[in-house]
Symmetry: C2
Subunit: 369 residues, 2 copies
């Protein structure tokens, strides 16, 4: 299934910081067919390093989408039944307006003059896209990690537009530890002289800093156990330590490779803006409490999923969401799935996740049609 | 109690890599008095960023030692009863020969021509110091984190010289995750152009890279819970997000401060060499199994301590040590202490640790005298 990325343009997007972005482009892909009653549309929200290419094969590089294991014929998000939409987030670097886009006022890339954005800003742009596509009420919004934050934001701000929400491996607010990991990544980028206060678009990008940020990220996405299983203490192409500072262990080689690979497809300034948006996110700060944030609408059903070995977005953060919703007597199901894959589980360990999502979507769809 | 750092010099130190370091200087401090039978000496081994100044007040900067809460009159390592020794590790930058020392062959700092070192190399140098001080058998060797690795190495290699060993918050071998965190720190340093392949001793040191490495370290030393208690989502000197990339959260400001502070007292090349020594450490690889490594001597008693919230050196790693020793029918006590402070607990949450160490030392001392 070859899938072309599409683009939508909007005149302006008002932001939480007070600025108005104008114009704004959003990159998106769709899979499956919208039914006549427009009642089968599902929005998928991506994580920090994701993009609009969630499923199918890209005609550009021939690669499958980042959630191809979950989206497609007969899969959890079944394209025979549902119409799936995934868009690149605001501030991104894969087709949606971000710091690497040209500022029409100057003819130069925004770089660090790009306004600071928030998760609500990202969702506001998604809402404009959904309106443009003529969809009044989404069957579902779903996503893991930062995608889960957007999912929660949809349910809190546009409850009438979401029949069900599936936040996965996520939180209603970043903890000090989560902020800390993001901040170290940002410092790694901003410490790289090639970052040059963000002005590198006609020069060498801050590849070393971004690679280090990505390496930190990768460690937090895996579990101690999954790293042991994948690498252990295995040496890379040698029997004995080199007693030098070249690569000794396979895990070192993997991290360096993934770090450098990331540099080819991601913009360092986008990394700064998007991680900042994640750190700012705090639904409990909105209306005095987390429950307060969800008080507005009461027609949205929730399926909250977490993974046992996810130490970056631990289960207790999902349970906080569940408790807030329960205190409002909302329709909420919670599944803590057993997995050794850490935070990556929502991307790579999709067996049980598929079962629970499939059933939940089917019952929501049935109740609606 | 003002304590002067002392120095001992040795003609040569043979290393695991095959090189011989010549000459070698070691910086050390002592607290309390050696008794007539020389049976009350305790060696304290420090962690990655520690030094010989474990207790008392430094005449140089007026600062207390890094384990002053554990060493002194009436404390766990009671200077009224015991003679305590702490030396800066080989490869360090606080008085013991390391990459920043002058290579007598060239008249220039070794920098990256310094030979790669191991935990056994560090302990070999400590053994030479203990011999020089005329101590045949230590009452105890104790240390946390990398200090615990040295403690285990002492018990494995010089069992006749150690009456008891107290490895705290440590492991007999670095896991893939522990190697990964160290590797990211090394990459942060080596990515800094000021690192200049290690040749910066007459120039600007790689302060940004070292600060990032230290920031990563700090996150791993704390627990999710202790970060929440210490910082939560509190903002730094403002009521609302700045919507910019200056410091927003207190945890960001803390990490940046600790990162920059570290740069003033630590050498980046030492960070590379010492973390590599930690990654190489694997007692289970020595004689076919972890138990095999401890087979040599059977007169050493063990007190193994871990902390519930330490996710960098989790309790299961201490339990592996305990199980190996139990399989040899060795005298081993294991205490998993309750603490919210994460890996830092052995430095900052010393109440219960004091009680168990005090009792264990007293009974070992009594049995010996």
């Amino acid at each position: 299934m070859i899938v072309e990325t599409q683009f939508a343009c909007f005149n302006e997007l008002p932001l939480d910081c007070g600025a108005v972005l104008s114009p704004v482009q959003v990159a998106y892909e769709t899979y499956g067919e919208l039914n006549e009653t427009r009642s089968n549309a599902i929005l998928i929200a991506h994580a920090l390093s994701g993009d609009a290419h969630a499923a199918g094969i890209s005609p550009v590089d021939g690669k499958p989408g980042w959630w191809d294991s979950m989206i497609g014929k007969g899969k959890a998000f079944d394209t025979d039944k549902y119409f799936i939409i995934c868009s690149n987030v605001l501030g991104g670097c894969r087709g949606t307006t971000g710091p690497g886009s040209i500022n029409p006022a100057t003819g130069q890339p925004y770089a660090m003059s790009f306004p600071v954005i928030t998760i609500p800003d990202m969702v506001r742009l998604q809402k404009m896209l959904i309106d443009r596509l003529g969809i009044e009420r989404l069957l579902a919004v779903a996503g893991g990690s930062m995608g889960g934050m957007q999912t929660l934001e949809w349910a809190a701000t546009y409850p009438e537009s979401v029949a069900c929400a599936i936040p996965i491996a996520t939180t209603a607010r970043h903890s000090a530890q989560q902020i800390a990991f993001n901040e170290v990544g940002r410092q790694a980028i901003m410490s790289d002289p090639d970052w040059n206060d963000g002005n590198y678009y006609d020069k060498k990008p801050p590849a070393r800093g971004l690679a280090v940020a990505r390496m930190i990220g990768h460690i937090t996405y895996m579990s101690d156990e999954s790293m042991r299983q994948k690498f252990g203490r295995r040496l890379r192409g040698k029997d004995k330590f080199g007693f030098d500072f070249s690569v000794d262990f396979e895990v070192e080689s993997y991290l360096r490779y993934r770090g450098m690979q990331f540099v080819n497809r991601f913009d360092a300034n986008s990394y700064l803006y998007i991680t900042k948006a994640m750190d700012y996110f705090d639904l409990s700060d909105r209306e005095g409490s987390l429950a307060g944030a969800f008080r507005k609408g009461n027609n949205t059903r929730f399926l909250v999923i977490s993974f046992t070995s996810d130490w970056l977005y631990p289960s207790y953060q999902s349970q906080e969401i569940v408790q807030a919703l329960r205190s409002l007597n909302r329709d909420v199901a919670y599944c803590e799935l057993q997995s050794n894959y850490g935070h990556d589980a929502f991307l790579v360990d999709v067996g049980e996740q598929t079962e629970v999502v499939r059933g939940f979507l089917a019952s929501t769809y049935k109740a609606r049609n």
